[in-house]
């Protein structure tokens, strides 16, 4: 178990700057997820910590010890790769035991450790098989077993579930969560899958284009996105984003959406300036067909005509327009009776971002 500190990390490959500025501390025993689209620098950051990639500038500390120049094999980290990277010529047992053998442990101790890990991951019947005789999920578990037996300071996961099918991914997610609860080892997990991030993380670090876009708990990043990128990246279906302007009339502030006027909630009024261009963000799930679903009075009502419907099962996606701008609403499938509906927008849940800096205007 250990605390990991990244201090002003940068990484370039020739002229291309992949990680531009990364300052972050992973607390002891924490489960942190690096989340972001492809090419945002999340895997590179992880590989720098692992020692598989050199650091262009900045420092990385594990438990106060500077590890920039420490060889990968001496960093005492265990990593699970996206491709599993099992040694194909070794059996499952040998794969798991390899690191222990290198540590110079006795055969008897190795046996105990391997069987313990195999027991936790239900790999006992597979110990004598070679990787090519295993299914994707089993290989994944062997890779985890290999990392587990080492009892490393930090676990690193580089998109470990992306090669599995959706159902197995759910099962493995659950298993990883249980495992982390049991072992309490500091864990850094890289993924582009927001469901994995939301379900697994104590804290999520959202990266965009080599910078940290936001750090926070899953609830924080979902409910209070710091900028437009995070707002659109987190949540499925994505947040509705509409260009608007702030206006004042007779001492009252409004968000002007073409012909439509929505009263400006109080939490944005500190930042309000006349004619300030903004982006209005509303999650499809924060728009309701029945006013009773919102337990306060800060609601904006708006009658619309539904243009298209997409049934998802229990819920349904409705596509419509407000203020001549496209809007997606997610609601219970049973609530939609006619194509003419009245939308109730929960004003406590809307988001406003500055049009140029894209930062949240909420105070």
């Amino acid at each position: 178990m250990a605390k990991v500190i990244f201090k002003n990390i940068k990484k370039s490959f020739d002229d291309v700057e992949v990680v531009k500025h990364f300052d972050f501390t992973v607390e002891d025993g924490e489960f942190v997820v690096f989340l972001g689209p492809s090419g945002c620098g999340k895997s590179t950051t992880l590989r720098m910590l692992a020692g598989l990639e050199s650091i262009s500038s900045g420092d990385i500390y594990i438990d106060e010890r500077l590890i920039n120049k420490v060889d990968a094999k001496d960093r005492d980290l265990a990593m699970v790769f996206q491709s599993y990277a099992l040694y194909p010529h070794m059996t499952v047992y040998e794969n798991i035991a390899f690191a222990l053998k290198l540590k110079g442990m006795t055969k008897k101790d190795i046996d105990v450790e391997v069987l313990k890990a195999a027991n936790i991951l239900e790999l006992e019947p597979l110990l004598n098989r070679k990787p090519k005789e295993l299914s994707g999920g089993q290989r994944q578990r062997v890779a985890m077993g290999r990392a587990m037996v080492r009892t490393p300071k930090v676990f690193l996961f580089d998109e470990p579930l992306s090669n599995l099918d959706a159902k197995l991914r759910g099962v493995m997610r659950e298993e990883m969560k249980v495992l982390h609860r049991k072992l309490q080892t500091t864990t850094i997990y890289v993924t582009h899958d927001q469901i994995e991030a939301m379900t697994l993380a104590d804290r999520i670090v959202i990266l965009n284009d080599g910078y940290i876009a936001q750090v926070g708990t899953p609830t924080e990043v979902f409910q209070r996105p710091a900028n437009k990128f995070v707002a659109q990246f987190i949540g499925n279906p994505a947040m509705n984003m509409m260009n608007a302007t702030l206006i004042e009339e007779q001492g009252e502030w409004y968000i002007q959406l073409n012909a439509l006027r929505i009263p400006l909630p109080e939490r944005f009024q500190k930042q309000a300036e006349k004619n300030r261009p903004v982006c209005l963000g509303i999650r499809p799930t924060d728009i309701h067909l029945r006013a009773q679903q919102i337990d306060h009075q800060r609601v904006f009502e708006c009658p619309v005509t539904i243009k298209e419907k997409e049934l998802l099962g229990a819920s349904i996606l409705l596509k419509t327009d407000i203020g001549s701008l496209p809007l997606v609403v997610e609601t219970q499938a049973t609530e939609v009776i006619s194509d003419m509906v009245k939308l109730n927008i929960d004003l406590d849940s809307i988001h406003l971002f500055d049009a140029s800096s894209e930062k949240s205007l909420a105070s």
């Binding site: 692992a50 020692g51 598989l52 990968a72 094999k73 001496d74 960093r75 980290l77 265990a78 990593m79 790769f81 491709s83 599993y84 990277a85 099992l86 040694y87 194909p88 010529h89 390899f98 690191a99 290198l102 540590k103 070679k130 990787p131 090519k132 005789e133 295993l134 994707g136 290989r139 290999r146 080492r150 090669n163």
Partner: protein, 289 residues
């Protein structure tokens, strides 16, 4: 298009042409195989005949009855088994060490980053273009300088690091050994040598088997180099020993043919053993395919 439809051959014609092509191909292949194998079979047949039978004008494929006499004569005219042993020794040691050196070199070129790597690799590949005969005199001078004349080390050591071998292994590592495996080994705590020895080497088997056959045949067939550096008959390798008796009066050709036939056996055995290993696909299952 309609007007050209009559040009399209019918189903029967296509089938017939395909069959005819297959028969032609098979004939060419069978003829080539016979042409390749015939000299070996002929030398095996000749090794059972005496001199007069060998030089008779009629062509016959019948086995003669002089095998025992030829064998005895073979042992009289040259230290045959000593030469065989020398050849086996040179080929075995040379092949083993070249597998080690070439796999290390190829692995280094494939994985490590160092200054001048491309230049060195280009030099290495370029050196394959130099005809071996051209380096014969420098080779002799170096061996003489090292004081290795008339020593078997001079025959195998200089040829253990071959550009072809390094190139072959490098290509194999680049194309069939995933980078993640090396990284996983590193994180498991393996140093450079341990990664090479425990992870990479076992996965190189198909390439090593190919290289083993190539090198074994090379060392076994070696003639010019031993001829230049080995002088005493008890140091001779088999090619040299068989050649050395061709100058004596009334060369006992039956014996020479017998020696040649026996000398083919180690190569055959090597091929049979290593060809099984050549089947690749050993890395399947390493990473998600």
């Amino acid at each position: 298009m309609k007007t050209l439809a009559f040009l399209k051959p019918s189903q029967e014609v296509t089938t017939f042409l395909t069959k005819a092509a297959m028969v032609l191909l098979a004939t060419v292949l069978i003829l080539s195989a016979i042409l390749t194998v015939f000299p070996f079979i002929w030398s095996a047949i000749l090794s059972t005949r005496d001199r007069s039978e060998i030089f008779s004008t009629t062509i016959s494929f019948a086995l003669g009855d002089s095998l025992a006499i030829n064998y005895q004569r073979l042992l009289e005219i040259m230290p045959f088994w000593q030469a065989m042993f020398n050849s086996i020794y040179v080929a075995f040691v040379g092949t083993t060490i070249s597998l080690l050196f070439c796999s290390m070199g190829g692995y280094a070129f494939a994985v490590f980053k160092f200054k001048g790597k491309s230049f060195l690799f280009a030099m290495l590949v370029g050196s394959m273009m130099i005809p071996p005969v051209l380096s014969l005199i420098p080779y002799f001078l170096i061996v003489q300088f090292l004081g290795l004349l008339d020593n078997h080390i001079a025959v195998w050591l200089p040829f253990t690091t071959t550009p072809f071998g390094i190139f072959l292994i490098r290509q194999h590592v680049v194309s069939s050994i995933p980078k993640e495996l090396l990284e996983a080994a590193k994180l498991d705590g393996a140093g450079e040598f341990r990664t090479y020895w425990s992870v990479v080497l076992p996965l190189m088997k198909p390439a090593l088997a190919t290289l083993a056959i190539v090198q074994f045949v090379f060392f076994w067939n070696m003639f010019m180099q031993p001829l230049v550096v080995l002088n005493s008959p008890d140091q001779y390798v088999i090619t040299q020993a068989l050649r050395s008796v061709q100058g004596i009066p009334n060369t006992p050709w039956g014996s020479v043919m017998l020696g040649t036939t026996i000398s083919l056996l180690p190569i055959l055995i090597t091929y049979v053993c290593a060809s099984k290993q050549m089947i690749s696909g050993l890395t399947s299952g390493a990473v998600k395919g």
